[in-house]
């Protein structure tokens, strides 16, 4: 078999091996990234949930304030 063909075959096999290795690395890296993003999103959701929950509380304070205003107005009228 001519040497040039052997070189060509070797190159191709190396390309295939390297491609497989890099593909595996790529998949691994993407998986790790996905996990990290997921963790961030969970944290984010947690904070969001806390904020929303607190907003409900704040709205209730507004409501209370409104009631207070009504009370004050009533008192004023009196």
């Amino acid at each position: 078999m001519p040497v040039s063909i052997i070189i060509l075959l070797l190159s191709f096999s190396m390309v295939i091996v390297i491609s497989i290795y890099f593909r595996m690395e790529h998949v691994k890296s993407k998986k790790a990234h996905k996990i990290r993003i997921h963790e961030y999103l969970i944290d984010f959701e947690l904070h969001n949930y806390q904020i929303k929950k607190r907003e409900i509380n704040l709205t209730s304070y507004n409501f209370l304030n409104y009631n207070l205003k009504e009370v004050l107005q009533e008192q004023n009228i009196q």
Binding site: I18, F22, I37, F44, I51, N65, L72
Partner: protein
């Protein structure tokens, strides 16, 4: 005996030469008609006709054969047909072969061989092998010649239905062995050839081969068998009508009979042979036969007859330069004179014989030296060719090495580039991931901060509401209770309590607004509008003699959001503006109706807020503006705008400011 090598070669190389020899005139007619036909032909047919003409010319005019062979090649090249080209090469090679231009003949045979080999035409390949065998035989390359013959034989044995081809090659092999003096082998191959001819009932082949076997048997001193074979051959030639070859056989018989001591019959046979050779003008064989006949006559002591025959033979030998016969003749003549007792004459002739013998020897020596020289030259040439080939191979190897190196470098460069690309891709992906993660981290930090901030706000709001708010409410309630409890007391204490109550209510309102603003990250326009409406309503409740008007352009999006800071600033500015109007605008004013108008509208880039009254107005030069205006200006500056105040005595006052619209 000489017949064998010369005649057989012609026989097996051309095969039909002998028969055509007798038909030259007929052949000329054939050639003329072929020439005429060729004038109307084209392409393949023309090539085949030229080949045919070349074939017919070979035994008549070799140069014409070569000429037509070349014409055939030209036409074949025009046609581009490989098979036709091969046939043209064969014609040229054959023409050159009969002209004894063996190098060129070999070259063209090789070209024809290559094409036929590629085309898979095994019979044509075998024919070329046979011709190359003949050429190498002629050149004295017996080993090479035998190799070619055996190759041809192998192909013919398995791939041809023509029964004459196998014995033809067998006979050619026999000829080569004969030149090497291997008579037993010669006999063996001739007998194989004869058996083949007998199988195919080829009378011509049987006759010629039988005659040749006879010649070999003569060499092996098997005289009786020689006579049988030669007689059989004579019968064959006579049947075939090839009488020209009968005296050859007769000569062989005569030699055999002479050797067996049958001198009388030998004499008759010699005479017969001489007669036939004479009628054919075959001087060469005639000379040889005369010498044999002279030798035979000595057995009868017929010296005069012998001398006469020898003199005739010597004359012809001298004329035709048959050196070998001249030497043989002189030797025999010297012996005859010696037997006659003419010693002086015998001596003279012996001397002449010695000189001639030396000449022949010298000639042979020169011939063999020339042969050796030519052999040396051809070997030298071969060596040079080998050297050149080795040089070419070396160059090829170097070129191959270079190519391999180039391939290697290209492969490495490609691999490096590929790996680089993969690394680049990997790094890019990593960067993208890091960027995304960093964005998320920042968002997370922001939301964390917001969460903490909100938590703080909630805590402060709770504290303000639960502690200060409730305490202020308690104070207001207490003051009201106290006010009703002190019904008939001093009016200035009561007024003070009312003022204190009002201040506390204002503080509660302020606190409520602060909590409202603090609790919100963003304040929608709708929210702000509601809040301002509520404030104006409450103000209206307190100052019923003033006509309040709060106008908002309908095209303002109620979903538009301000930051909490912006919202509280806008609210506070309007609150301060309305309060100032209530405090100062209508003091000592008889004007009816008293109008206070708050107007919010929107252009492309700004919200415009206008607080306008038809009160007493003021002169900027005479009035010193208080803390309220300063606070308003500060808040307007925070809104990245400018507070504009337009006022003239009795013309009312207008406060204006803008809020930039966020994209």
């Amino acid at each position: 005996m000489i017949i064998d090598s010369v005649y057989m070669k012609r026989l097996f190389f051309f095969f039909l030469v002998i028969s055509s020899f007798f038909k030259i005139e007929a052949q000329q007619q054939v050639l003329d008609s072929l020439d005429a036909v060729s004038k109307d032909q084209k392409g393949k047919a023309l090539v085949l006709t030229f080949n045919e003409i070349s074939w017919h010319y070979r035994n008549i005019r070799a140069d014409s054969a070569l000429f037509y062979g070349k014409k055939a090649l030209l036409e074949a090249e025009k046609e581009g047909d490989k098979r036709l080209k091969a046939s043209a090469y064969h014609s040229i090679a054959s023409a050159l072969q009969v002209s004894a231009v063996y190098d060129s003949a070999s070259y063209y045979h090789q070209k024809s061989l290559r094409i036929n080999f590629l085309l898979g035409d095994s019979i044509a390949v075998a024919n070329t092998y046979n011709n190359l065998g003949i050429i190498n035989d002629e050149l004295g390359n017996f080993d090479t010649s035998l190799q070619y013959y055996f190759k041809a034989l192998k192909i013919y044995e398995y791939q041809t239905k023509d029964p004459d081809l196998v014995p033809m090659v067998l006979s050619n092999i026999g000829i080569v062995y004969k030149k090497q003096g291997e008579y037993k082998k010669v006999l063996d191959y001739y007998q194989q050839a004869l058996a083949s001819y007998k199988k195919s009932d080829n009378l011509f082949g049987i006759t010629v081969t039988t005659g040749n076997i006879g010649s070999v048997l003569l060499r092996l001193k098997k005289f009786n068998e020689t006579i049988i074979h030669a007689e059989s051959a004579i019968e064959g030639y006579k049947t075939l009508g090839y009488n020209r070859y009968v005296p050859y056989m007769l000569n062989n018989i005569a030699v055999a009979q002479d050797s067996l001591g049958d001198f009388i019959n030998a004499e008759k046979t010699y005479k017969n042979a001489i007669e036939l050779f004479s009628s054919d003008d075959n001087e060469y064989e005639l000379t040889n036969t005369r010498i044999g006949f002279a030798k035979n006559q000595l057995h009868f002591n017929r010296y005069t007859v012998a001398i006469n025959e020898l003199r005739l033979a010597l004359k012809k030998a001298k004329e035709n330069k048959f050196k070998e016969f001249e030497v043989n003749g002189l030797k025999l003549l010297s012996e005859v004179y010696s037997l006659q007792g003419e010693n002086q004459l015998a001596y003279q002739i012996l001397e002449e014989y010695t000189i001639k013998k030396d000449e022949v020897y010298q000639l042979e020596k020169t011939k063999s030296i020339l042969e050796l020289e030519s052999k040396y030259q051809s070997e030298k040439k071969e060596k040079e060719i080998i050297q050149q080939r080795s040089e070419i191979d070396k160059n090829k190897l170097a070129m191959q090495l270079k190519n391999n190196l180039l391939f290697g470098v290209i492969a490495i460069a490609f691999l490096t580039g590929f790996i680089g690309y993969l690394f680049y891709g990997k790094q890019r992906l990593k960067n993208e991931q890091l960027q995304k993660e960093s964005e998320l981290k920042t968002a997370l930090v922001q939301i964390e901060t917001q969460n903490k901030l909100q938590e703080q706000r909630l805590r402060i709001s709770r504290d303000l509401h639960d502690n200060i708010g409730s305490q202020l409410t308690f104070i207001t309630s207490s003051l009201d209770t106290l006010k009703y409890g002190l019904k008939n007391t001093e009016s200035n204490v009561k007024d003070k309590l009312v003022a204190l109550g009002l201040f506390t209510k204002t503080t509660i309102n302020e606190l409520r607004d602060t909590i409202w603003a603090m609790n919100k990250e963003n304040i929608t326009f709708e929210d702000l509008q509601t809040r301002i409406s509520q404030f104006i309503n409450s103000a209206n409740q307190l100052s019923k003699q003033i006509e309040f008007d709060f106008v908002v352009d309908s095209d303002i999006e109620i979903e538009y959001t301000f930051t909490a800071e912006e919202g509280i600033n806008i609210y506070r500015i309007i609150q301060e503006g309305v309060n100032n109007t209530l405090k100062h605008a209508f003091t000592n004013s008889e004007k009816q109706p008293k109008i206070l108008r708050v107007y919010i509208h929107k252009s492309i880039n700004f919200f415009h807020v206008e607080i306008k009254d038809n009160g007493v107005g003021f002169d900027f030069l005479q009035v010193e503006l208080g803390n309220g205006i300063a606070n308003m200006k500060r808040r307007v500056t925070d809104l990245k705008s400018e507070l504009k105040i337009q006022s003239k005595p009795d013309k009312g006052t207008t406060l204006m400011f803008t809020i930039p619209v966020r994209s």
